[in-house]
Symmetry: C2
Amino acid sequence: MKAEDYKRLVRLYVPEAAFIQGKNLSLSEGQAHYLRNVMRKSAGDALRVFNGQDGDWLATVAEINKKKALVKLDHQLLEQKQSPYVWVLASPVKKEAFDLMIEKSCELGAAKFIPVTCEHTVVHKINQERLQAIAIEAAEQSERLDVMTVEPLSDLKKCLNSFDYKRNIIFCIERAAAVSLAGAAKKLAQKPLAILIGPEGGFSSQEVDFISNFKNVTPVSLGPRILKTETALIAALAGVQLLGE
Amino acid sequence: MKAEDYKRLVRLYVPEAAFIQGKNLSLSEGQAHYLRNVMRKSAGDALRVFNGQDGDWLATVAEINKKKALVKLDHQLLEQKQSPYVWVLASPVKKEAFDLMIEKSCELGAAKFIPVTCEHTVVHKINQERLQAIAIEAAEQSERLDVMTVEPLSDLKKCLNSFDYKRNIIFCIERAAAVSLAGAAKKLAQKPLAILIGPEGGFSSQEVDFISNFKNVTPVSLGPRILKTETALIAALAGVQLLGE
């Protein structure tokens, strides 16, 4: 099989430690359903699996029925790469937009996503499990070798007060005199990094003062246009990686 | 009224030439419905309007009923700014993703969106009118002073053969040895620009050769990750503007 053909195989995240040649992995019920009923796979078919630490592996369906599937590890296709270094701190917004933010953050290589409640946050509940599932699906489809973790919802101030001060925070603010993302390129090269994005209504002026007081925070403007929260996050993530890599 | 309060007003695109103080503008049936039944506005209420050439204006609802609304131009709030300079050439993809591409392109300041059919394009029909409506809504909400135009669907090769050779094309390719977007920054500073994005299956190798032969084309890689078409476009648009402005 050629490298290009491997790319076409179904790819699943199987969070089981230590992939070893010949080992059988048990898939979840959802994965068994997907493999059998959606992708129409049966015993003997090839797929790719990853566990977030042992790279990408070729595997073969060993056994599959309605509720259960076993796949056998064949050989490693790709070695595990260095982990991504960007975290996202973002206020929850309405469902479709927040789902998109989770999916795109994972696709664009974020390591961790921390939902934070700000003063102007309207959505005060998240379904962490559902969001984590979106991140897993995005990892499977984007050929990432690990999965972005989605953290529980936390309060912005509490989160920042206990935050690792060695991680620089790119603080995205609208309609304010701040350096452009390109202007902060030097700071961006100092990893590890986090991107902080507020709710649709923006940060309160009290929050802006509070956040700006942290030494590891760099306020940054994303340009002259008014961007929706999800667009701002995608633009910032793309920009940070373009400028920082 | 303070500048911040203006930002909260409903904002509508009324493509009528020459805004003059005191002039009455007739809104479309859809806008009349939106203003009256969705936003609950009545005679005397303030709103903002723009026509793409005379900046942003404050206006007052003069008359409103089920099918019709007249608004009176009060005074100019913002002068017309320089027009955006980036065009997008992109293959249609499935509905939700393509809608997102139109919306985000407008939000991120593209001037024109040309849907192009490539060899691996699966979707061969677009509803130009519906897509233009999405672009108008995005312009209204993002405080743009003009609207991105959505062109009819055209064939990639025909489009490139008749393309203005003075407009540089950033040709986004995956899994290929090309300079990074940041590495092409010098080229990006030479405006006008266009971004070319292929379908989910990518460009065929024959297409890659054909496109790369044009002197105004710069093949560019968007990084090590496999991005969905819509993510690639948003990342490229954000990157081009970050690096080129």
